[in-house]
């Protein structure tokens, strides 16, 4: 985690802060979702508690914490309590691996009569070389919290809900994994930072040895992989159990699902996991297809740091990272709004339609996308 006490301390605090940021975004998103859906449906939404109803979140938190701590008599106590905790882990671990901004470079400095540094702090919880594989690996563990919840409740509805949910999750994991292959073929790296670096220049196509550059467009993955982006987004909707794929919690026509027996803060922790997954999904979409924390013609690490030409290198680096972080957050928030928007625009699928879509539509399309991408890249990059 670091070589001396300062670096270890900063890295640990950074890690905790990023996790807290993820957890804190949840009540905010719940508020956005409630106000947003009220806006879409032409009603008011929560507007009584505090300005714009913002402190509704606090009231909700207090309500969740003071609810009766209930658990069914026949359940398995330890697993029943473990399931909501397990629901937090995949999202938190995956979010930690996504670079949120440019790394901060700290020059050597004097403090407490000692020279510290130089340091490089990545703007993410940890930097892992096999980034994409790591994120896929931890998010493949998400099925366990569903199955634990369903099994530990010892309730038929929970059990069926858990089976339904985990079958859905794993089916769409295939389409998700396969739609990423196109972007891997394009960038030839598992590393998120490297991928963002490749996207921070102008759009340039290699056609049979010659390079055509479009100066006004960024080199984003979406221009090469539009189909892959759509498939990945759809698969992410299914992975996060959001509408139109929210059969695990279709409370109107199926009994709630794997969390039938849960209430209070334990129920809320499943939601923290779900919103965390939304955050990870948006972060991945932005990193793969929309240039991560860069916005080529205006905001790249190069252009932003040139604004602070007068100040010290450390301060330049800090300000650059913060501004680029705002760029990243804006992009992510746009995607999060898309998640909420779609919820009120599309009806829910039936279960057989859902499985058909995953296996018979998205998987072949993702396969076709991979093959076409490979052939095109092969033709373009070979020196004939």
């Amino acid at each position: 985690m670091g070589s001396d006490i300062f670096e270890i301390g900063v890295n640990f605090i950074k890690m905790v802060l990023i996790f807290v940021m993820m957890v804190q975004l949840v009540p905010l998103l719940v508020w956005v979702e409630r106000r947003g859906s009220a806006y879409i449906q032409n009603r008011f939404g929560p507007n009584r508690v505090g300005p714009l109803g913002l402190t509704q979140l606090l009231a909700d938190a207090v309500k969740f914490l003071t609810k009766e701590d209930f658990m069914p008599e026949r359940g398995y106590r330890f697993l029943f309590l473990a399931a909501p905790v397990v629901a937090l882990i995949p999202a938190a671990l995956a979010f930690g691996a996504i670079p949120l901004s440019h790394p901060i470079f700290v020059e050597p400095f004097e403090w407490l009569g000692q020279t510290w540094g130089p340091y490089q702090f990545d703007f993410q919880s940890y930097k892992i070389g096999i980034g994409i594989v790591f994120v896929l690996a931890v998010s493949s563990l998400a099925a366990y919290s569903l199955m634990l919840a369903g099994y530990a409740s010892n309730n038929k509805y929970s059990l069926y809900g858990a089976l339904r949910a985990s079958a859905q999750t794993i089916s769409y994991e295939l389409a998700m994994g396969l739609s990423i292959v196109g972007i891997l073929l394009l960038f030839n790296t598992f590393d998120f930072s490297e991928m963002i670096r490749l996207q921070s220049g102008p759009l340039s196509f290699h056609v049979l040895g010659t390079v055509y550059t479009f100066d006004f467009l960024p080199n984003w993955g979406i221009f090469y992989q539009p189909l892959g982006a759509i498939l990945l987004l759809a698969a992410m909707f299914a992975e996060t159990n959001r509408l139109p794929f929210d059969l695990p919690e279709a409370e109107a026509e199926l009994v709630a699902g794997y969390h039938t027996e849960y209430g209070g803060i334990k129920m809320n922790m499943f939601y923290i996991g779900e919103y965390g997954h939304m955050l990870v999904a948006s972060g991945l979409m932005v990193t793969f297809y929309f240039g991560g924390y860069t916005l080529y013609p205006f905001l790249t690490p190069g252009t932003v740091s040139s604004w602070f030409a007068g100040s010290t290198p450390t301060m330049t680096s800090v300000w650059t990272s913060l501004i680029l972080h705002v760029v990243f957050l804006t992009k992510v928030l746009l995607f999060l709004w898309l998640f909420i928007w779609v919820r009120w625009s599309l009806p829910r699928f039936r279960y057989d339609q859902l499985m058909d879509l995953g296996w018979k539509t998205m998987l072949p399309w993702a396969l076709g996308n991979t093959i076409v991408t490979a052939i095109v890249i092969f033709i373009m990059r070979t020196s004939w």
């Binding site: 671990l93 295939l174 070979t382």
Partner: protein
């Protein structure tokens, strides 16, 4: 190891955080009287009956096993995608395309067979 340590620390932190929330909630939560009916499993008011055999469609199991097999085939494509450019640059582009072409042909055959055999039908 040094790369892995932050991951372990973070997962430990998340577990502690989650456990703390659950403990706090159980301390703060209202203590209501517990009755026999309340503690019963929720089955829309019917008497719950877990002893009988629950029929679960075998489809779920079949979906899971097909998932494993296709998942591995997809994972085999990741190293291929990673080294694709290197092969092309060395002039072995046609070779790597052919190698993966045969594999993809088998993959597509499997997928077609699954569709044909109605293993993926949910009614």
């Amino acid at each position: 190891m040094s790369q892995l340590l932050p991951v372990l620390v973070l997962s430990g932190f998340v577990v502690v955080f989650g456990a703390a929330i659950i403990v706090v909630a159980s301390l703060l939560g209202t203590k209501a009287a517990k009755s026999k009916t309340k503690l019963e499993t929720y089955e829309c008011g019917l008497e719950s009956d877990m002893s009988g055999s629950t029929k679960v469609p075998i489809k779920f199991y079949l979906t899971a096993i097909l998932f494993i097999l296709f998942d591995i085939e997809i994972i085999f494509m990741y190293p291929w995608a990673l080294s694709f450019n290197d092969f092309i640059r060395q002039g072995y582009g046609l070779y790597i395309m052919g190698a993966m072409g045969v594999f993809l042909l088998i993959f597509i055959l499997g997928l077609l067979w699954e569709v044909k055999s109605k293993a993926l039908e949910w009614e």
